[in-house]
Every structure is written in C-alpha cells, then in structure tokens.
Assembly symmetry: C2
Homo-oligomer: 306 residues x 2
C-alpha cells in the first residue's frame, strides 16, 4: 500500500524525508546532479515518501535579522517534474499557497496522479502581505478539483504553547479536507505531546478519528543553525540549547537529542493510539549534516513498525 | 555517612520522604499515634532523611479559592521534638521564616544537633503581608549562630519558566550559605531540566561546584488534588493533566508519571554531573494515596545508587 492509501486508512509509523529544492540560480544540469545525488543517497532508506518544501521569504513575519540570507529556491513542483521523474515513492509537494494564483494551483492539482503526489498547503502567516490565494480558498479549490488527492496541513506545537488552540485548528483543517499533518522541526517534546494529547481527546469528544501527524526532526550542526531555528519560531528548550552550545560536537549532540525526542514521541503516540509518521529534514547544505540526516532517518526507520 | 555529611561532601542519590505534621487540633495522643504509624510505615524504606513541612496559610498569594481549606498544622519542630524522638535518620525541618520572631528562630537553631537536624528556610512569598523575619535576615541569623547546621533552600522550576533567573537565585542562596535545594512537586520535567542546566553552566562559569538538588515527586489520586497542585503554582503539562483526567485510575496514572519524571531527571542529573536527591511527598491523608507514596519511594530508592 502506498503512502496515500496508508494515510487514507489512518495508517501509522511511516518514514519520510524532507528536502528543500535547489536555488533558482543553479543551472539545469546542476539541479539534475543534485537530484541524482539525493536519490542515490536516499534510496537505501526505503522511505515511504519524500517531502519537498516550498520556501517563501518569511522575513516579513519576523522583524529580526535572518541569520541566513533568504535565497529563492526552485518551485518544488517544477523540481519534481523536471528532475525527480525517477524517484519511485510518492512525493508530498508543499504549496505556499499565497505565492500562486488560483488558476495555477488548480492546474497543478489537476495534472497530478493521486497515488504519486500528495500536497501540504501552507498559508501566508501574516495578514500584512498580499497573498495570491488564501489557505481557505486553496482548500476550496482542492475540494472542487482533486478531493481524491491527499491534502495535508501544518501543525505547530509552538503555537499551541502560545495560544492553546492548535488542536482546534487541526480539527478545522481536518474538516476542510486534511487527512494528515506535518509539524515543523520538533525540539520541545513536551509541547508536541500537549498538542497530540489535546487533539486526541478533542477528536474523541467529537467522535472523530485522529489522522496521522508527521513529526519532523533534524540535526543541527552549528550554533548558527540553532539561531536560525529560533528565528523560524522553533522552541528549543533551554537545556537543549545549553547542551548544544557546550557540546564538543554540536552535530553529534543534536543527533542524540533528535533520537531521544523521536523515541519519546513514538512511544507516546503508540500509547495514545494516535497514528503518526516520522520525517527527517535536511536543513543544511554541509555534507556532514546531510549525512547525519540520512543516518538519523535510517536509525529512526528501524524504530518504526513498518 | 549521614545526610548532613553527604550533603556537605556534595553527595548525590539520596532518598527522602516528606510529611506534613498533623493538624494543631489533634490531641497529643492522636499526634503520637500518627507519628508511630508513620515511622512504622517508613522504616522499611531505609530513607536517608525525613522532611517535615511548615505549612503557612498561603491564601494571600493566590486570590483564587483554595480547593482544600487551610487547616493549621503543628509546628514541625515541635512535632519532631515531641513525637519523633525514636526516628533514627536525620530530619530536615522546614521553617516558614515569616512566622517566627528572630529570637525563636535563633533559639531553635541553637538547640539542634547538626548531625540529626537540617533545615530549609522558606521566605514569605508575598510582600503584602507582615513577615516576622525575612529570608535574608533568617540566613544572617543562621550564619551567626549555626553555620555548621546544613541549610537548604527552595528551588522553583516554575519560577524559572516565568522569569528565567531561578538559577541565579539558587547561586545567591548558595552564597548565603545554602548547601542543598529542594524543589516543589515536579510534573514539568522540561522546566526542571532547564533549571538544572542553567544552574550547572552558571556554576561552571563562576568556578562554583553545584550543590545537591532534591527533586520532589508525589502521587495525585484525584482531580481535586490536581486542581490543588495548580492552585499551589505547580505546572502540570497539559498532556499529563489530560492523562489524569481520562485515566480509569488517576492514582495509578500519576504513579506512572512520577516514575517517568523521576527516571528522566535522575538520568539527566547523572549525565550532567549535578548531585541530586529524590524526595517523595505524601500530599493526601487518604490511605490509598499514602500507601502509593510509600511504594513510589521504595521503587525510586531502587533506582538510586545508594
């Protein structure tokens, strides 16, 4: 059974890997090289699917200086269509819906094979910005054109910590058609458990079945990356920040933390009967960090009952 | 080596049990019965020490209605002197210093055997209330009269979550003479780890050796007790609250949570090289909860390297 079918059946324990497409400035040949190397690296993992992020310049949502400059990346749909034809498991293509006109979104959805492509819609986080298509409108387009294609939503444990109602947002998205959720990188396991717990009990109270939540983990090879996580709105608990700052090997320490966090969430979701997946995100272009991400995915894959 | 010597040597892994003295309204005979039953129940645990709380009416610090009425309890120093003469390990006697005149505090300290009695000073939490002796003044009295007697302080992970400077308070108390700390009941392990971590690295930066931190755990047998924990200012993470609310057996679920939290903190402190102790607090007068507390202490005692 493929990823789309498993998600439709409220399956659990799947393994994903997330990539950011190459910068738009690379040549076609270089993009293909990157795609080939990546496929070669990921094939041994036996992934259930690949996630392709759609990076938007989010500097408008955080007035503080971005630790890494924003570099526009290729449209993930284009990167997949042009360079990842050989990839043999389903791809979850992110759509930062505010970037696309309705017609473009609709045309893209219409062209997809629902067994091979899933999508996650991400709304523009700020109201102070012109958005070509809103999240709600994008969901309507999906319902009109491709309700058979699996639609996912973003789950933010950090927002639950601040506002305590992320579980209600998840349920609203579920009612709008989402059949899975993906978190941003999880460092605060407690916040993630709070969200899972509130979501699970709210589903029970409403007679809804919970849909799979995919938890994202990554390694963090430098203090600059740690700073960037903070800029992105990821809560990294003080004790983990301290560990990373004082570690002889930041990459290794972050790997251990990711393993620990994932193990705790896997055990918790199993106990709570909430279906879940694990996603490893490669955040850096440094080879050591890419390799550590692949190792992490392999390690976590062995923990899953697949 | 007794508890006082072990604390002086920055020892670790000790096991304590905390009691609230009987209400002041009980007869002398009844108080003795309570003391006898308690000693019989606790002796098999092989405790390193007993903590006796000094309960103050804290209703001034929280305007919300107290879930349980405030019932004045015996002075722990008097309870020990009159009813616990037969108890053979050291006793840590709490002093809510705001309740006592300087002369009384001084006289009590002068009468103690430093091998048999330790003390923890607790300051009045609010400025809106007449306080006979301030925490700082009590520490001065201690330094003048009984600097050989082990003095402890209170550590509040919750305050660290709010203000981020509890580690600096601990260091200030340490500089004022405290040689150990005791937390209130820990449900938020993440907050406790944050405090331990910040404290440990701040000690390292100042060339100080960390002193033992005693973490307190308890069972919670009812939703009323859960509500009371909230009133007392204990942060219980949402997911744990949900688990307790939906458990078939609240007492059993809270026991499992306490075991998990203690195990995580024990592992963390060992890894960080911060000396620690474990304290089990009996919060209820219901027999099932008292027995579960004793079982918890026994179970945790086996986890410690004693």
């Amino acid at each position: 059974m493929g990823l789309a079918q498993r998600i439709g059946a409220r399956g659990s324990e799947f393994l994903l890997f997330a990539l950011t497409p190459p910068r738009i400035t690379v040549t076609r040949e270089r993009a293909q090289e990157i795609a080939d190397v990546t496929q070669k690296r990921l094939t041994p993992l036996g992934l259930d699917g690949l996630l392709l992020y759609d990076i938007d310049d989010e500097s408008y949502r955080n007035p503080q200086e971005r630790p890494f400059p924003f570099l526009p990346t290729m449209d993930p749909a284009a990167f997949r269509a042009q360079h990842l034809q050989g990839w043999d498991t389903p791809v979850v293509v992110y759509r930062a819906v505010g970037k696309y006109e309705e017609g473009d979104l609709r045309a893209w959805m219409e062209a997809q094979d629902a067994d091979r492509a899933l999508t996650v819609f991400v709304g523009a986080p700020s109201r102070h910005r012109r958005s070509a298509t809103s999240l709600v409108r994008a969901q309507e387009l999906w319902a009109q054109t491709r309700p058979d294609m699996r639609l996912g939503g973003v789950a933010l444990p950090e927002r639950h910590t601040r506002r305590g109602e992320e579980h209600l947002r998840l349920i609203a998205k579920q009612e709008a058609g989402c059949s899975f959720f993906v978190t941003q990188v999880v460092y605060d396991v407690n916040a993630a458990k709070n969200l899972v717990s509130d979501y699970r009990y709210e589903c029970a109270a409403r007679g809804l079945e919970p849909v799979p939540i995919v938890f994202t983990f990554s390694v963090c090879g430098s203090l600059k990356t740690l700073e960037f996580l903070g800029w992105l709105g990821v809560d990294v608990p003080r004790w983990i920040q301290n560990d990373l700052r004082h570690a002889d090997n930041t990459l290794h320490a972050s790997y251990e933390h990711a393993l620990g966090a994932a193990g705790e969430l896997i055990g918790y979701c199993r106990r709570m009967g909430v279906p879940f997946g694990v996603n490893v995100e490669s955040v850096s272009i440094r080879l050591a960090e890419i390799e550590a991400s692949v190792d992490l995915a392999q390690h976590l894959g062995r923990e899953l009952q697949r």
